[in-house]
């Protein structure tokens, strides 16, 4: 992950995820990104903002569980 700068592959490959926030993510000449999600829809469907809220709520719940584990 490079939240400030850019990523330029010509070519290159990533097994996992690229997070970029700079000028560019430029993947050319046969570059590949092989994500863990395999093209699935691991994110909430867009028409349902509520879905995102549910996801976040679920995470908050897990956070609480972690707290308990941490205390234990």
């Amino acid at each position: 992950m490079d939240v400030a700068g850019g990523i330029h592959f010509s070519p290159g490959a990533v097994d996992g995820e690229i997070i970029g926030g700079g000028n560019e993510i430029n993947l050319v000449s046969g570059s590949q990104v092989n994500g863990d999600n395999g093209g699935g829809t691991g994110v909430p469907l867009p028409s349902t903002a509520l879905a995102g809220m549910v996801l976040l709520g679920g995470c908050a719940l897990v956070r609480t569980v972690h707290l308990a584990r941490g205390k234990a």
Partner: protein
Amino acid sequence: MSTARVFAVLNLRQSIFAMMRSRHFVMALPGIVFCALASSALGDTVSADLGAAGPSNWAILSLGGTNLNLTGDTLNGPGQTTGNVGVASDGSIALNSSTPPAIIGSLYLGNGSNTGGSASPVSAQVSGTIYTNQDSYLGTGSSTGFWTGGTTSATGVVADALNAAKDFADLTADQTITGDITGTTTLTANGSATYVVDVTGNINLNQTNLILSGTAGTDFILNVAGDITLNGGNNFSGGDIKLAGGLTADHVVINVTSTSNGDNVTAAGGSSKDPNNSGNTLPNA
């Protein structure tokens, strides 16, 4: 303080959210915000901290922000991306694979994002669905001034990514490499749940490899203050960051902490890809 102890403190501090956020910065510890792999006894820092920005959701996540001149993602063929791609506002993505689809997955665009410069029809470049107006989930925000201590008003997935980057960078290093890594090098985790290596300079692998080694389930955080340059040469000999010892990509983060908005990560090699060598491989760049 050992990493294991740090992790215990991390969990304890989560009992009170406000206190957690306070210690989060003072003690330079990561936060737990996600659930997918959170039950792992070893090393759940990576998935937990990345939250909704993590690799279980995305193959490429392009952060946006109206204060940045971004984001010109260009996926030119014949390369392909397997997984979902997110382009937060106000980024853009150009899809021009000569062997479409460029994205084997779905494309999520923020309200201000666009697909300008793509081959027509764009739908042929995406095997899944193209979702537009996704600010409510992708979020918005800018990384401008982020590394220099500026607070961010980012939201959604963008916020998760930015906060995770800060968290990873703030972790206490188990090992510090002063200067550059230029030759074949192996960095080995010491058995703790989360192993953090800080590189104060650049990683420049010219037909040499960097090997990250650790047991399965270990979280390996590599913070790089400079640039990463990978060169596999004409035959893709080297130029890789590889994993060993059971370490898996979903437990590895390469976190570039440079404040430059130029190309901090570059990879290049021969004119064609060697099918027997992935070449210039990075886990979770």
